[in-house]
């Protein structure tokens, strides 16, 4: 099992679970995911952060049943998508890296299509959400801006009324304003309903104030899983030269200012930024890999 530090953020029913999850695309190649153990409890937004190739998309695709695990299993609300994909998918709303819209169809037609595929699709809610963003429903989506397309895709996912939303870097290509709109829409929509969201993203700065917990995924392995409070208050960044107990040290890394720093675990005393926490755990992963 590959888990440097895995913490269950809170008690409650498990919405998403990975047990010993390994995904290897080709024999003889490094695993995209290597023995991941992960429990995400129901309700709240969890950010899935990591560099390119860390396995974020692979993990989400395993939950969707788009990828079959090489070993281990995943469950969505207790359902293994490898065994019963339709039932697992009935509990999921999804937005991918590509917005996945038909350029020749209007937003309205997308809602109609979604309604024909999902019996309980909330068309009225989706219409209201689009109207709230001033998105014209009668215009082909090819003519909408990237931000508007992302909002249409999010409206489709939210309209499913699914208890779990899986979002695979949906904001990666958006400008900061569109990213903020997307994330605040998401936050407001899911908080009221208690939806569980797993949001893969590169852009850590956008996540503060939106997400409730954080998973740092280094290539193939979970490096940190905890609440945002745990991540920030439980860690501190100190000069690398200061005295650090070996048990405290997560990793040392070079900060943006060029200074050598260390991320340390100091529950209740720290005040690290999310950036620091992510950098620290990714540096730890790099150090572990280099040592191996």
């Amino acid at each position: 099992m590959n888990a440097l530090l895995v913490r269950d953020p809170s008690s409650g029913a498990i919405a998403l679970r990975a047990q010993g999850l390994t995904k290897r695309y080709r024999r003889g190649r490094p695993a995209a995911l290597d023995g991941i153990d992960l429990d995400i409890t129901g309700g709240g937004i969890t950010a899935l952060v990591g560099p390119n190739g860390a396995g974020k998309s692979t993990l989400i695709r395993c939950f969707l049943g788009f990828e079959r695990p090489t070993a281990g299993f995943v469950t969505v609300d207790g359902i293994d998508p490898a065994r019963d994909r339709p039932k697992a998918l009935s509990r999921i709303g999804y937005v991918g890296q590509e917005v996945g819209l038909y350029p020749q169809l209007t937003a309205d037609e997308h809602l109609e299509l979604a309604g024909s595929l999902r019996p309980r699709f909330d068309r009225a809610g989706a219409v209201e959400r689009l109207a709230g963003h001033g998105i014209p429903r009668g215009v082909r989506t090819a003519e909408l801006s990237g931000g508007q397309q992302a909002q249409v895709a999010l409206s489709l996912a939210l309209g499913t009324r699914a208890p779990v939303l899986l979002l695979d870097e949906p904001v990666a290509r958006l400008d900061p304003l569109a990213r903020r709109d997307f994330l605040t829409t998401l936050r407001d929509a899911v908080r009221a309903k208690g939806t569980t969201v797993l949001l893969a993203s590169h852009i850590i700065g956008d996540l503060e104030g939106v997400v409730d917990s954080l998973i740092v995924l280094a290539p193939a392995a979970v490096m940190f899983h905890g609440s945002i409070e745990d991540a920030r208050a439980g860690h501190a960044v100190v000069a690398a030269t200061s005295e650090i107990a070996p048990a405290e040290l997560v990793a040392s890394f070079t900060g943006l200012t060029g200074r050598r720093m260390s991320l340390v675990r100091r529950p209740g005393t720290g005040d690290a930024s999310l950036d620091d926490v992510v950098f620290g755990y990714l540096a730890a992963a790099n150090a572990t890999r280099a040592a191996a």
Partner: protein, 322 residues
């Protein structure tokens, strides 16, 4: 259901309208050419007087009519029938290639497969409307080509049968469905449009060639002795012949290129002997055998198309949506 139908057509709007246009142009042209053939007013007695008894050929009246008829038959009807070689295959290919392949390439497969849950249900929802449209278009093409094919051979009294076999009637529908199934499966397997188009076009070409090979094989397997009248000139009843010989009065058979007159018994006028006692025999199939070929054609191409459709369900069920 109506909503799904509408959406399926909207998603493949370009292909659907291209196919409607293609079929309409060829089908309506076939009807126009048929009308032009009929409009010449050349009776069967004028066109093939030798097959009728007690007909006096009126050259002054019939020659210009015959010339006009055969010119339209060759230049215009021939062109339409040539187009019918490719039309059902092209239409099947056009509608099949993008149905799954473009969804995967365009990234929409992930969205709709996640929304639908059951991929089988999604594929059925996409497939049925397009199959209904394809079927309607192919039936129209089959009927109009049948009407034209019958008009090309008035001396066969509306039975084109093996003349232009595969290019008219139910064979058109069967070929189109086979090409559709093939392109659909290749698209689902490759998930990329350009490779799918190239690969499907090549395989569809083989499918077309396979149609001719199938016909020849079937004719050889089902060939039987067919008595032909002495005036036989190669086309008289919509049959397809693969061999000819002469049967002499003693039951022996000699090849078609034998100088039969030289075999006449001594003291008998060779011409009288040939006319009265020697029979021209053909080996092959004739018009009454045509329905059996149509059943075979539909069964083979239909099974081919259905096998690819079934393969598509299996591919879609297992593959990644990207």
């Amino acid at each position: 259901m109506a909503s799904r139908f509408r959406m399926a057509v909207r998603i493949q709007r370009f292909e659907v309208w291209s196919c409607v246009l293609l079929i309409a142009v060829v089908g309506i042209t076939a009807l126009i050419v048929r009308a032009r053939l009929d409009g010449v007013g050349a009776s069967a007695e004028c066109l093939t007087p030798w097959i009728f008894e007690n007909v006096v050929y009126d050259a002054a009246r019939c020659d210009p009519l015959s010339e006009a008829f055969f010119r339209i038959k060759r230049d215009e009807a021939g062109l339409v029938m040539t187009a019918m070689n490719a039309l059902p295959l092209v239409v099947g290919l056009l509608l099949g290639v993008g149905l799954v392949g473009r969804e995967i390439e365009g990234g929409t497969a992930a969205t709709v497969w996640a929304l639908a849950g059951s991929r089988r249900r999604w594929l059925l929802g996409r497939l049925v409307p397009i199959l209904v449209i394809l079927g309607a278009l192919l039936v129209f093409a089959g009927i109009t080509s049948e009407i034209l094919a019958a008009g090309r051979v008035p001396w066969q009294f509306g039975r084109p049968a093996f003349d232009d076999a595969g290019l008219h009637g139910p064979g058109v529908v069967a070929r189109g469905l086979a090409a559709f199934g093939l392109a659909l499966a290749v698209g689902a397997w490759s998930g990329r449009m350009l490779p799918t188009i190239l690969m499907s076009a090549l395989l569809t070409l083989f499918l077309g060639i396979g149609g001719y090979l199938l016909l020849n094989t079937w004719v050889e397997a089902n060939a039987h002795e067919v008595a032909v009248p002495s005036w036989y000139n190669g086309e008289y009843d919509g049959g397809k012949f693969i061999g000819e010989f002469y049967r002499l009065p003693d039951g022996s058979e000699v090849g078609p290129f034998t100088d039969v007159r030289a075999l006449a018994p001594a003291g008998v006028d060779p011409d009288t002997w040939v006319a009265d006692d020697v029979r021209v025999i053909a080996i092959g199939v004739h018009a009454p055998d045509y329905p059996a070929w149509v059943v075979t054609e539909i069964a083979v191409f239909g099974a081919f198309g259905l096998a690819w459709l079934a393969a598509t369900f299996a591919i879609v069920e297992r593959r990644r949506p990207f």
